[in-house]
């Protein structure tokens, strides 16, 4: 069987998805045996020009991770879509926008002001900011355009499969690779490498009845690690998050923050989180409800930590 031509690209990413692929440990040899890597910046020396020179559809599978933050990311999204038979939005950033999506509460101007001027460790007396074109004595230098809004991959191109997770677990990555190699994939547009149910379905913590009378923060209160965190009043997005990660956060002593994205059928993970969590609050009086909800600081970033760009409103209106 001919080897699969495989590419992996990072947009506004952290490298964690690449490391997760490497965390398949000895299985990486099986992946190398089944696939020829034709573009993978963290591990190989192929350049953008090499990809541009490929015929369309040359790459069998591209794993695209990282969110789309600037014009270079956008260019690669379109380029890799054209050059790939199968394009996978790999990891939460490509799937939903991810952590870089939190920048959608701000815009380019506010971010540049902070990063290049206001931060305490910045020394920039001439107030220099990155420009898309800079004329130097030898020639013109260019940088990508920084957009106001972060986007998940499917806001720009047709995505064939989504592999959720920040990062996807090595176990799931191996399952996805095996599915690709054996040709046993579900219909295009599906989420793969994850469960069709929520985190609660696989969570081993003891569940009783949820009747929240106050919310607690792990900064000021100690959770019990045998019982459901939400029941104890610690915000956990398990009920509105797709399973498949073996509840790695819950087993590590912290509540779920939703990186595997919304369960099937849910359009907006943050909205569903509001619905689910408010439903189990025990209060019938407006004043009491207000008092309890005041204990949830930072509503949007707590209830939709990873998916603001993919949410219905996509960003804060400024």
């Amino acid at each position: 069987m001919a080897k699969l031509k495989l590419a992996s690209y990072w947009a506004a990413a952290c490298g964690g998805c690449d490391v997760a692929i490497l965390d398949t440990h000895e299985k990486i040899l099986d992946i190398a045996a089944a696939a020829d890597i034709v573009f993978w910046p963290i591990a190989t020396d192929f350049k953008y020009a090499d990809v541009e020179a490929m015929p369309d559809g040359h790459i069998d599978v591209t794993l695209f991770h990282g969110a789309v933050r600037n014009s270079e990311n956008e260019h690669l999204a379109h380029l890799l879509r054209a050059k790939s038979k199968v394009l996978v939005a790999f990891g939460t950033c490509a799937h939903l926008g991810g952590i870089p999506g939190l920048a959608n509460l701000f815009d380019r101007k506010a971010i540049f002001k902070c990063v290049y001027h206001d931060t305490q460790s910045t020394v920039n007396p001439d107030g220099v900011e990155p420009q898309t074109k800079t004329q130097m004595p030898e020639g013109e230098l260019t940088l990508p355009e920084f957009y106001d809004t972060v986007m998940p991959l499917d806001h720009l191109v047709e995505v064939d499969y989504y592999v959720p997770g920040c990062p996807p677990t090595p176990k799931q990555i191996w399952a996805v690779v095996q599915a690709i190699v054996s040709g046993q994939l579900p219909p295009k547009g599906s989420v793969v490498g994850a469960s069709e149910k929520t985190q609660c379905d696989e969570c081993k913590l003891k569940k009783n009845e949820k009747k929240i009378t106050s919310f607690k923060r792990i900064a000021t209160a100690q959770p019990e690690h045998e019982t459901c965190y939400l029941e104890q009043g610690f915000l956990c997005l398990g009920p509105v998050t797709r399973g498949g990660c073996d509840t790695r956060c819950q087993l590590s002593g912290v509540p779920c923050r939703g990186c595997y994205g919304p369960p099937p059928g849910v359009l907006d993970q943050g909205a569903k989180a509001v619905s689910a969590i408010a439903s189990v609050i025990e209060a019938k009086d407006e004043a009491e409800i207000g008092r309890i909800l005041a204990e949830i600081p930072d509503a949007l970033r707590s209830l939709n930590r990873f998916g603001i760009p993919a949410s219905l409103l996509r960003r804060k209106t400024l």
């Binding site: 490298g15 964690g16 931060t119 230098l141 920084f146």
Partner: protein
């Protein structure tokens, strides 16, 4: 003047590009290193509860 572009730089974590300008005699007359990425963590953690920040800033680098 000849120009060599290395785009992207590879086999490390992060995005970068290098532009090398060579004089007529083939020696390097100037070389520029550019970082074409920015995500803005410094800004978007403003106002977050402090105990949530470690789980966010750990995504600055996954290596």
């Amino acid at each position: 003047m000849r120009r060599i572009s290395i785009d992207p730089i590879t086999r490390l974590e992060g995005h970068g590009k290098i532009e090398i300008f060579l004089g007529d005699d083939g020696s390097v007359s100037n070389c520029y290193f550019q970082v074409p990425e920015l995500r803005g963590f410094e800004k978007f953690v403003e106002g977050m509860p402090i105990e949530e920040v470690p789980r966010v800033v750990s995504r600055i680098c996954g290596v």
